[in-house]
Amino acid sequence: MALLSKKDTNLILDPLADNNPITIQVLGICSALAITAELKASVVMAVSVMFVLAMGNVAISLLRNVIPSKIRIIVQLVVVATLVIIVDQVLKAFAYELSKTLSVFVGLIITNCIIMGRFEAFALGNGPWKSFLDGIGNAAGYGIILVIVGFFRELLGSGTLFGFKVLGDPVTKTGLYSIGYENNGFMIIPPAALIVVGIIIWVQRSRNRSLIEEA
């Protein structure tokens, strides 16, 4: 017997490509623009959101029959806020430098529309195991875009990956820099992320024309 049924597999795989939260639903753009200048920050952000979304989805799913529908937004916020504070404290304790780079954006996971969106659209109507898979899938779809954007922005903007100087040293002029290559300062600033995300959207929709919205 397979570990996951076909339906469950789709819960994880769909958000990775054809129902991606960023490129198709265009949610969570703010953090995708703000923290993707470095690959490391992108990965940490992706993992944090995955933790919050999967745990939150499970919590909401377990509570779904006891939450009065009038105050469900408040309850959802309490759940997200709790989880985000845990993530924030863990980062501050074990990766202080990184938490300074991410600064306010860890706290702002609370306002990430993907999370509230999945609570509302999925966890309130499905069981905990399915909700967990849905959370993992959507966070992975979010994370994969973050990592792609972070990869290109760090490689072209700083010439590094995870802080390693993969293209050589710009100061001592080794590697690519010895033949006159220079880092692209444009990739460091947030508008560049918008353009990279735009190009991903362009490529994705050219490959799968059924994703193009009717004008």
Binding site: G180, Y181, E182, N184, G185, F186, M187, I189, I195, G198, W202
Partner: protein, 416 residues
């Protein structure tokens, strides 16, 4: 020749590379299959003719830029000539040769990369190659510093053509002026190659830090650093263009001639040019007024730029070039006549404002034009709506006379 090309065209019709062939074919020859009768507009000024006219207006600036590249280089090494003589010191073979080997590669890279992308997209989309790049390709080498590395230019051109134009649907659909998109990309991506006192003179970057170091600060650069007393250029130097700057932007005389040529051939809008000049003078006057009123202390870092005589702003930097050749782009500018006045005015106003307040780089005309490109459709929208309102009001107050039956009959016989 023409007949042979036409036969070739028929042979390749419908093939994948047909757009690429047609583009070269119609560049100089009229295709055979044009209509010769009937109610069609048969004017000579198609898109290619329009583009070629603008390029003709730009050629003097390009040639001058080549001479100036050599002149600035040799003057920076040997000192500026005491008694300047146009033929002895400026229009020399040495100057021209140095200019040729530094500027021509910029032109070749700009056209090579840009047209390659245009052809690629034409083949992918399967429609005719658009001529939009002809002018852009000429503008780009004129608005960059002479020593811009060619690979940077190639990347910037690729970015500008794809992101600035093709994603919006190609020539005629773009929101932003592609040449300025390329310039802005270079400015944000490689600021060290786009500003400072080393990039405007050929060889200055390579020689930096050695005993042979040379430099050439622009007039605006001196002002921004509060060194107005060090400016050795006279007003006539600025007007004729014997100053450091981007390749083609220095000679205001030739830009003025180009402007007159474009206005009389009705290619560019005189409304935009005039209103942009008015806008720049207005902002200059405001700044001069602030300084004269004593509101600005002398130690302020804006003091020298703000006290710079308002009309001199037109003589330095890229303002004149931008107003004449970039702001008047018919695609990205305002379309309505009244809109053109607003559009141009704000370009002038913002150019001088950004020029004075930009801390990193004392020039703002490209940013101002790009900003107004974005607002051009909004301006047009309000102009059109204002016009509709005006006419509705006129309709309300108008007295409509009852139709005279005799007149109706006579009209009917006339139009029958």
């Amino acid at each position: 020749m023409k007949e042979k090309l036409h036969q070739l065209k028929l042979k390749y019709q419908g093939k994948k590379m047909a757009p690429a062939f047609n583009a070269l074919h119609t560049f100089l020859y009229t295709p055979n299959d044009t209509t010769h009768s009937g109610g069609h507009v048969r004017a000579a000024d198609d898109l290619k003719r329009t583009m070629n006219t603008v390029i003709m207006a730009l050629v003097p600036c390009l040639l001058f830029g080549m001479f100036n590249a050599g002149y600035q280089h040799y003057s920076a090494i040997n000192g500026f000539p005491e008694n300047f003589d146009l033929f002895e010191h400026f229009l020399t073979w040495d100057n021209f040769w140095l200019g040729l080997v530094t500027v021509l590669p910029l032109v070749i890279v700009s056209y090579g990369v840009g047209l390659a992308i245009e052809f690629l997209f034409a083949v992918i989309k399967g429609h005719e190659v658009e001529e939009g790049y002809l002018v852009t390709g000429m503008l780009v080498p004129l608005i960059v510093p002479v020593d811009t590395p060619l690979w940077m230019l190639a990347i910037a051109v690729a970015f500008g053509v794809v992101i600035g134009k093709e994603v919006f649907g190609g020539t005629g659909m773009n929101i932003l002026n592609p040449a300025l998109t390329i310039r802005a990309f270079l400015f944000f991506a490689y600021p060290t190659w786009m500003s400072g006192d080393k990039v405007w003179v050929h060889g200055a970057v390579d020689r930096a830090g050695t005993a042979d170091a040379i430099s050439g600060e622009t007039v605006l650069g001196f002002l921004a650093q509060g060194n107005a007393s060090e400016i050795s250029y006279t007003l006539s130097d600025m007007f004729y263009g014997f100053i450091p700057g981007s390749v083609g932007e220095t000679s205001k005389l030739l830009i003025l001639l180009g402007a007159l040529f474009l206005i009389f051939s009705k290619i560019a809008s005189w409304r935009i040019m005039v209103s942009a000049v008015i806008g720049a003078l207005t902002m200059g006057l405001i700044f001069n007024g602030v300084v004269e009123a004593g509101w600005l202390p002398e130690y302020s870092k804006f003091y020298e730029l703000m006290s710079f005589d308002f009309w001199k702003h037109l003589l330095v930097g890229g303002l004149a070039f931008g107003i004449v050749f970039m702001a008047t782009d018919p695609v990205t500018g305002s379309q309505t006549n009244r809109g053109k006045w607003f559009y141009g005015f704000f370009i002038g106003l913002l150019s001088v404002m950004i020029r004075v307040f930009n801390p990193g780089y004392p020039e703002g005309v490209f940013l101002a034009i790009l900003l107004m490109n974005v607002f051009a459709p909004t301006i047009d929208h309000y102009v059109v709506r204002g016009n509709i309102k005006k006419r509705l009001k006129r309709l309300k107050t108008a007295t409509i006379y009852p139709k005279n039956s005799d007149e109706v009959d006579s009209l009917k016989t006339e139009t029958a």
